[in-house]
Symmetry: C2
DNA sequence: CGCCAGATTGAGGACGCTCAATTCTGGTGG
DNA sequence: CCACCAGAATTGAGCGTCCTCAATCTGGCG
């Protein structure tokens, strides 16, 4: 199993959380070509201002999207784990408004837009699945905004850790322990805090017995407590496959009411 | 011209900023059915937890998407002006993760998902345009996150005002003066501040001679200054139609380099 | 005229920031 | 094996932005 096919397979499983794919759809995805590239610490994966011709699928490590103020302060706007297609949207809107950077290390599969566009022309179901994939990312963004604008430092950190826990769980991790391939500084840039204050928030969380972060790993000691401190409700992550067909089968009562 | 067709026309012109539409595509959009409904102050347009069967197109007024903490604090995550389809994405992902509410007043055209889905099945170009529309909203979200996480109160307010100015300009407003159909409290919930502090930030902005907000209207006195104070770079809004075909015509040099 | 929502202003407090020093860790070369 | 180093984590002290609470003012409306 090559790195490329492993990453594509992870991504396909992500798509299948929200869309039913035929065997042929899966075959199309598995056949997507891609150039593999490795990145070290804080390297540009997709630079600002460029116009891309490839979308980047994370195979290993962690990639972050970010924006920067004029004074240089950085704000992460999304994290991409293995199996996430960081800028699938660039296939339809190739101008780069927000750059992508590796955290500590990452392996990326660059998939040509031409092949992605070709895939969605072959299969309307895939086109739908791709769109949905972008929509889910947007809903995650909404939660991040709530986090940034209206939660205390401790809650922000706790919420982000909960999100990462669930997302790592999907790709084979455990909720009680998962890798955290970035520094407290990265955590700060994701939560709109400073590294110093993230450190203090983590200490508070540790002392409350909810979670422990050491050696690039997160150990969740009390999931219920952590989720409560972070006000975490995972609905927005759409990780429950049983609901993926809601669209094709609207709620009968609701539909009846609407028909009036 | 009915309210419905006026709103659909505004929306079509928004789509055409980023996608080339055929006469037939435009006809499909113009023919979309929709139930018109009026909303007063702070009313639910789309409630949390529901499963929608319609997407809502703003015809008049202002609609906001938001999230809430357990303590009840509210954070707006997007504003929708006339001509914006607030939850186009719900056509492919109908579960409501973040509710929509009118600000002071709004008129909405509810377009059935069935008709939207039918439209995109008839025209791949429309499918592409719809997807792009969602992607642009996501890029706006990125900027809001940067605003929330890393800018001072004054800059946050200035940035938001700049964004609103440009977006109103697109639909027939003037950059130097446009309506602001919401209170300082709404502005606070969009910038992650309190109404008190928004008031003070607005005062500072007024005293600096950049902008004045009175009687539900914004008067921009010095656009360059306001844009500078808000670190506003409008690239992310994708308001320049001349770039809409970038995807079909990738930059030749870049493409050549990539082919290696 | 009273009422109400919103805007405005004041005073005090707290959360998170800045600056800076120290410790810890893993990796590297002598 | 140890010294050394850079990056990261940790802790302390002081400060500032923004919040909280509260009062006053304004304009629209019944």
């Amino acid at each position: 199993m090559t790195i490329r096919s492993a990453a594509l397979s992870l991504w396909a499983s992500r798509l299948e959380l929200r869309s039913r794919l035929s065997a042929q759809d899966r075959a199309i995805i598995a056949a997507l070509p891609g150039r593999v590239e490795r990145f070290g610490s804080s390297q540009d994966v997709v630079a600002l201002g460029s116009r891309t011709t490839h979308s980047c699928l994370v195979a290993e490590g962690l990639v972050a999207r970010f924006g920067q103020t004029e004074s240089g302060a950085r704000q992460f706007t999304a994290f991409y784990l293995p199996g996430d297609m960081g800028d699938l949207h660039s296939a339809v809107l190739p101008r780069v408004t927000a750059p992508l950077q590796s955290a500590l290390h990452a392996t990326i599969v660059f998939v040509p837009h031409a092949d992605i566009l070709n895939a969605l022309e072959q299969s309307p179901a895939l086109a739908r699945a791709f769109w949905r994939d972008c929509v889910v990312d947007a809903q995650v963004s909404s939660q991040w905004m709530l986090n940034l604008g209206r939660r205390t430092a401790q809650a922000r950190v706790a919420h982000l850790l909960c999100e990462m826990a669930r997302r790592y769980q999907r790709i084979g991790g455990s909720v009680t322990g998962f890798p955290l391939d970035f520094t407290q500084g990265h955590l700060a840039d994701a939560t709109g805090l400073t590294n110093v204050h993230v450190n203090r928030s983590l200490r508070t969380l540790r002392e409350s017995g909810a979670v422990e972060v050491r050696d690039r790993r997160v150990s969740v000691l009390d999931w219920a407590l952590l989720a409560q401190l972070g006000e975490f409700d995972e609905e927005y992550l759409y990780l429950r496959p049983e609901e993926r067909d809601g669209n094709e089968n609207p709620h009968p009562i609701r539909a009846a009411v609407d028909a009036v």
